[in-house]
């Protein structure tokens, strides 16, 4: 299994049975896309960094150009989740082999543009979405109300839009960032909650 086996590629042989397209974007590729953005701090949850077992392997992306925000105060603007959170977030059946979900905080306005209804209406409209479908832009099954969107295993069908949305979520996080100043009354609260 070469290192680029999971990278985007056109198959000379049969198209993967799970895909309508013959290529996809990988977790590694997305992680690198974020890491290339100035000021982004990436955290991959693991036993070593004290993350809860359910989150091991998940990736969290923060805008923290000085790398100064205490870890317990950071709010990610994007995540990659690779397994279900039992009892909390199971709608995407992320425990399937090869499946992961990119989640982006795009804000309520962009959410509305993407889906044609406000994030506040998500609860009563959620039944029209297949949260297990690959390569489709969908509301986040848990955090849609806060303006988060998701895509499982981005591929040919969503790649261009996903790249735009990654940049938009990054720019949004950057615009909301305020430098940490010692003694600030809200020290540590320099990233507004992702729920505008």
């Amino acid at each position: 299994m070469p290192c680029d086996h999971y990278r985007r590629q056109s198959y000379g042989g049969p198209t993967p049975s799970w895909a309508t397209h013959n290529w996809y974007v990988t977790e590694d590729e997305i992680v690198r896309s974020f890491s290339d953005l100035p000021g982004v701090v990436t955290l991959i949850a693991s036993k070593e960094n004290g993350a809860p077992e359910v989150a091991w392997g998940d990736s969290f992306f923060f805008y923290d150009p000085d790398n100064a925000i205490p870890e317990n105060r950071r709010l990610p603007f994007a995540t990659i989740v690779i397994s279900d959170y039992p009892g909390f977030d199971t709608a995407s059946n992320l425990d399937r082999p090869g499946v992961f979900r990119l989640n982006l905080a795009v804000g309520r306005d962009r959410f509305n543009e993407l889906f044609g209804f406000s994030s506040a209406e998500f609860a009563k409209r959620s039944n029209v979405f297949d949260f297990t479908a690959l390569d489709r832009i969908i509301p986040h099954p848990v955090y849609a109300k806060q303006g988060w969107i998701s895509v499982l295993v981005p591929g040919a069908g969503t790649e261009d839009q996903v790249r735009q949305l990654i940049v938009q979520s990054y720019e949004r996080a950057r615009g909301r960032y305020r430098p940490q100043r010692p003694g600030d009354p809200d020290e540590g609260h320099n990233q507004a909650a992702n729920n505008d």
Binding site: M1, C3, G13, P14, T26, I82, N93, D95, R96, P97
Partner: protein
């Protein structure tokens, strides 16, 4: 090289030949390792061309052993699974640079 095992994945109702539990493999830059399952009734599914969104597999969709090669300049993650007819713990034999290392990986909750 590191492994993370996950829960058994839900499968469609009815007769399903095997179950899966996801096992992420991360391999360091420039490394090369062969991973073999020693547990009967299990195989390793890392070939993306065999992934099925239905999550329905047979044991032969996986391989008894898989060789993983890291990228020259960075680590690589392989998002695959153990296919199993029942065992929730697999004994793996890892071969790196001629050395053999036994590793036991269990499905979460198992």
């Amino acid at each position: 090289m590191s492994f993370v095992g996950f829960r058994e994945s839900p499968v469609p109702p009815g007769a399903v030949p095997v179950k899966t539990f996801k096992m992420m493999v991360r391999i360091s830059a420039g490394s090369d390792a062969k991973v073999e399952t020693l547990t009967e009734g299990t195989s390793l599914l890392y070939d993306r061309a065999r992934f099925a969104s239905s999550n329905v597999y047979s044991l032969s969709d996986g391989d008894r052993s898989v060789r993983f090669t890291g990228c020259p300049d960075q680590s690589a993650v392989f998002n695959g699974a153990v296919l199993t007819t029942g065992p929730r713990t697999v004994d793996l034999k890892i071969t790196v640079d001629g050395r053999t290392i036994p590793v036991k990986v269990s499905a979460l909750g198992g």
